[in-house]
């Protein structure tokens, strides 16, 4: 029989909880508190969009020249380890891993390296060390004295979901005993300008599944989940948040920047993850949508849900926390997986914020603007991204 893989700790830092307090994160999600505000980290006056969901840099406690993504990751990573009491668990460091999803890694350092003239040589070296995407995971592994699998996954906006999924697989296959998996990304003008050039950014608010939706807003932060075997977690008396019941990913193979119109890859990933979980689609009580608030994503996702959940797609609560959290890229999937576990724990699903007008093409129950009490036995967390990437996790009660 296949081992059950459970989550025993988490850490998260986001614009809704810039101090890293997980209680604030969940309370703000449930309340639909808007984190998308005027851009702080650079001058956005030249762009049609002037909003993003950011963590004020002053709250990160950055050392001089330190990359904000590195620091966000460190805060969430250390909290997840504390939350799981992982240091006392007695796992062999060589069988403990870090799996990180990121889209941009240390791009803030790269941006500074290019942008600022007259930097001292030592500063240039520091920026170059922080710039590569692999640097974040390496730094976390070194600080956590972790010597098992240390992987950086770059599957665009599905990176965080894939990181959790790959971590789950590493334990299931016996390659690791414990894995800290999650994602990180920071807002930078580099990515902001790119999404602006692609006409993907909203000028004001993110309105997933609304007829008048106008695009996404950039977000940032980090989230990590500690995964281990249920038997080991129980034996050491760890608190269990829930289990990862299934994971799958699939490629659209159609376009580099646009999703397949019928959500072919996403429905395939969702169906495969549900199959792996051995649950019936009727047991999925909540869906955390990718829900970027772009025209095509939300259409595509609705179709994918209809394909993978059948009739249930019309009645299951589906929400997008990106409405208020922005799109945190590599961190998004991990934050959304965490939201699913908290929904399972508390029997409450967070709302889709900023919902204004029903779109007949998105005829799903998107939990508009108010949290809802729902007994959640299992949740489906969906992600999609550039390059036709799609990933799905099924997360369930113990």
């Amino acid at each position: 029989m296949t081992e059950t893989i459970v989550v025993t700790g988490f850490g998260v830092i986001s614009p809704l909880n810039p101090d890293g307090d997980p209680g604030c994160f969940w309370a703000a999600l449930r309340a639909g508190k808007n984190g998308v505000l005027p851009v702080l980290s650079f001058d956005a006056s030249r762009y049609p969009c002037k909003v993003a969901a950011e963590i004020p840099r002053g709250m990160l406690g950055l050392a001089e020249g330190e990359d904000p993504a590195m620091q966000m990751a460190r805060i969430a990573f250390e909290r997840s380890i504390e939350d799981a009491d992982l240091k006392q668990a007695g796992y062999d460091p060589k069988r403990t891993g870090v799996i990180l999803g990121t889209v941009l890694g240390g791009v803030v350092s790269g941006d500074r390296y290019f942008r600022v003239a007259g930097l001292r040589e030592e500063e240039k070296k520091r920026l170059l060390r922080q710039y590569p995407m692999r640097a974040v995971a390496s730094s976390l592994a070194l600080s956590g004295r972790i010597g098992g699998p240390v992987l950086t996954v770059a599957t665009a906006c599905a990176s965080g979901t894939d990181a959790v999924g790959i971590g789950y697989r590493k334990i299931r296959s016996g390659e690791a005993d414990a894995v800290v998996a999650g994602g990180v990304d920071a807002v930078t003008e580099f990515s902001f300008s790119g999404f602006s050039a692609l006409n993907a950014l909203t000028p004001d608010k993110v309105r997933p599944f609304s007829k008048n939706r106008s695009g996404l807003a950039l977000g940032e932060g980090a989230a990590f989940l500690v995964l281990e075997r249920a038997t080991s977690a129980t034996a050491r008396g760890a608190r269990i948040l829930g289990r990862v019941a299934g994971y799958a990913s699939a490629s659209d193979a159609t376009h580099l920047t646009a999703p397949h119109r019928d959500g072919r890859g996403l429905s395939s990933a969702a169906a495969a993850a549900i199959r792996e979980s051995d649950l019936d689609p009727s047991e999925i009580d909540y869906v955390s949508a990718h829900g970027t608030g772009t025209l095509y994503n939300d259409w595509m996702e609705t179709r994918a849900l209809k394909t993978s959940l059948g009739r249930r797609a019309g009645s299951v609560p589906v929400s997008s926390i990106k409405a208020i959290l922005g799109h945190a890229f590599g961190a998004a999937g991990a934050m959304e997986a965490l939201a699913c576990f908290l929904a399972i724990r508390d029997g409450v699903v967070p709302p889709t914020g900023n919902f204004e007008e029903r779109d007949p093409e998105c005829d799903i129950d998107c939990v508009p603007n108010r949290e809802r009490s729902v007994t959640v036995r299992a949740a489906l967390s969906l992600s999609a991204g550039f390059g036709g990437q799609n990933a799905a996790l099924v997360l369930a009660r113990r």
Partner: protein, 338 residues
């Protein structure tokens, strides 16, 4: 601003201009992609052909792909950055931005060959190809795919030269024997599948993948660390002291320490084994390195030029280390790959 126009371009270990017309039925959609993507497209076309994966015959939703990259499309990324800084947001090119995202090679290759299974891009040092192979084997073991294409790809960029020289990691300035050779570029791809699947397809089995080890952040000295890991790896598959084979040396940093450590870790049966160094031919192709090494080792084994197993070693500046064991088995029969 520290822009790249003044940076020297190192002409060594470059791939000459390639045409995708020979590799793809329809190369037109890919004519403006970054070199890192072009290399991957060409390598995957060759690997698919070599493995006999006929388009339209296999279910491409059961084919996966894992790509290993270190730096990705840094030329496009730098150009995009320069345009943004010099000319403002109006000059930001959506094409350059989209093609500079790290998983753009994977997205393009998936499109070109209709790969609809799991597609992952792993980012890491020179050993990232071994990590990609590990993830691919896990996809096979989990039953998610029938075949998985493993790719390593990298392109040269003036920024890479500048960065590694500035950090004193390249050969001209680093400690002899510990340095990384000058950056190279290119791509290599292999197809991995369960032996029974290859037999079902009536395709020839090239070489079994016996074991993959990926380690991070050696705390002891690199030589001792490598000796221990190699010894453990060979012991775990019962291949210590059994067959003389060949060792393919790393293209990254700590090459000499890795060589010494590996020779210490190998058992008596490996005495006199040949150590091959591909760095003088390809430089340090970072993300492509391990797949280059695997291709060389597989060719040696499958052609009979090497009678035993192949041990493929990789190391990087952050003291990452990987070791892949191909071919050979304790009883002389080919070990099942999974």
């Amino acid at each position: 601003m520290a822009l790249l126009k003044g940076y020297p371009v190192d002409p060594r270990f470059c791939v000459p201009d390639i045409s995708l017309e020979d590799s793809l039925e329809n190369a037109r959609p890919f004519r403006r992609v970054a070199n890192v993507t072009k290399f991957a497209l060409a390598a995957v076309a060759m690997a698919i052909r070599d493995a006999g994966l006929t388009p339209g015959r296999e279910d491409r939703s059961r084919t996966g792909m894992v790509i290993g990259v270190t730096h990705g499309a840094l030329v496009f990324s730098s150009q995009y950055h320069e345009g943004l800084l010099q000319d403002g947001p109006e000059a930001a090119s959506p094409m350059l931005f989209a093609e500079s995202v790290l998983n753009a090679p994977a997205g393009n290759v998936a499109m070109a060959f209709g790969i609809r299974g799991p597609v992952h891009t792993m980012i890491g040092e020179e050993s990232v190809g071994a990590q990609a192979l590990e993830v691919a084997l896990a996809l096979l073991r989990s039953g998610s795919v029938d075949h998985c294409i493993v790719v390593g790809t990298e392109e040269k960029s003036p920024l890479i030269n500048n960065a590694y020289e500035r950090m004193e990691h390249v050969a001209s300035r680093a400690i002899p024997g510990e340095a990384t050779p000058p950056p190279g570029e290119g791509a290599a791809a292999i197809v991995v599948e369960c032996a029974w699947e290859a037999i079902r397809r009536r395709t020839s089995l090239r070489v079994p993948v016996v074991s993959v080890r990926c380690c991070h952040g050696a705390r002891e000295g690199m030589e001792d660390f490598v000796a221990r890991v190699v010894k453990e790896q060979l012991t775990s598959v019962g291949m210590r002291d059994v067959k003389t084979g060949h060792v393919i040396l790393p293209t990254g940093r700590y090459r000499e320490a890795v060589r010494r450590g590996a020779l210490r870790g190998l058992g008596a049966g490996w005495c006199g084994t040949s150590c091959l160094d591909i760095a003088p031919v390809v430089g340090n192709p970072f993300g492509a390195a391990v797949l280059f090494q695997v291709s060389v080792s597989a060719a040696l084994i499958s052609s009979g030029d090497s009678s035993g197993a192949g041990l493929i070693l990789s190391s990087g500046i952050e003291k990452t280390f990987s070791s892949i064991l191909l071919g050979g088995s304790p009883d002389g029969a080919e070990a099942p790959p999974l």
